[in-house]
Subunit: 205 residues, 2 copies
């Protein structure tokens, strides 16, 4: 039996998404056969409009409807601090905490030699330009490196830190997010590196 | 920070899919920001065309581009046997085995009182009509009930069997797929019901 092209086309589109294998792609497609045509068209329009109606901010490289983005334009935010993250989703996660009032810099990736992603493939040079630039704007005083605690994230963090140390102004502080045991975790199952970081990073209560 | 509407729209569309939670929906959406516009439009078109370019077969209720479907029209297939399945994906799974040459009947669901799905909500009456109808076509001699071995599937199977026993012609045989230990499984971890079915369904080798 040949599968109708309308079905196999959609299965193929789903299969291209990360974390969706052939079985899930089939399941999603057959599920969609039972939803109203209007919902399918809405979904389709959202896909077609995704990139048309968004833009990468010329300053921080975050994704927004305008450039410079809402955060860069917000005069209430502390323009002397930049938090460096790997992806736009990280910005959302940090914003949800309401504990950070500075600016961001979104790298759109991390250095990963195995996948041929070097510093030039991500928005890393743009970060150094922001640090160097002064023309009337307040000088950057702190860079918080908030890349993921993975091999790639750590490599990226080290690269950024090294570059900044070389061209550093006396005022510039480079920090990274605290490491330790996440809330709700079980000490017994924490890995050695995490425990080591937690001991080193202990704080008075 | 407000999330751009183009992004939240797509996140919402993904969230409506079964098995995709808010986090996965976000992850998929932000992934798609990095794919070419042409791929997004292809995906969107596949969605919009899914239902336009497919039809439910008037005989077996399977999904195809034509009605009656390829399987119902195929003169090489044994028209005296009908396998009853819950979903079009089950047809694909059985077809892949190349061990079945009869026809199908796709219920598009299973009886599930908890979700208010009774016999009238699925294509169950159409099955009885096929069994009763004779006008020139060969008489049905075997109904293989291949609903899932779940509560709902078993209830559906029981309902169909009972109805068929009442209106049964002497020639009509009602069977169900063999139960037992699936290939590659570990006897130690098999549940009691499966083991009981495996013992009852043992075969000479």
């Amino acid at each position: 039996m040949r599968i109708p092209k309308a079905i196999s086309d959609l299965v193929e589109s789903f299969e291209k998404l990360p974390g969706i294998g052939p079985k899930s792609a089939q399941r999603l497609t057959f599920y969609l056969l039972h939803v109203p045509q209007s919902q399918l068209e809405e979904f389709g329009d959202s896909l077609a409009n995704l990139k048309k109606n968004t833009v990468i901010c010329e300053i921080c490289k975050n994704i927004d409807t305008i450039s410079p983005c809402q955060i860069c334009l917000d005069s209430a935010r502390d323009k002397t601090t930049i938090m460096v993250v790997e992806a736009p989703l990280d910005v959302l996660a940090i914003e949800k905490t309401s504990r950070y009032q500075g600016l961001y810099h979104v790298l759109h990736g991390a250095i990963n030699p195995l996948e041929n992603i070097g510093p030039d493939e991500i928005f890393i040079e743009a970060l150094f330009q922001r640090v160097g630039k002064i023309n009337g704007e307040p000088e950057i005083q702190e860079i918080i490196i908030a890349t993921n605690p993975t091999m790639e994230g750590e490599a990226t963090s080290m690269y950024i830190n090294k570059k900044l140390q070389n061209s550093k102004t006396p005022k510039l502080k480079v920090t990274r997010l605290g490491r330790g045991i996440p809330t709700g975790a079980d000490l017994e199952y924490a890995d050695e590196t995490t425990l080591r970081e937690a001991i080193e990073g202990r704080r008075e209560i």
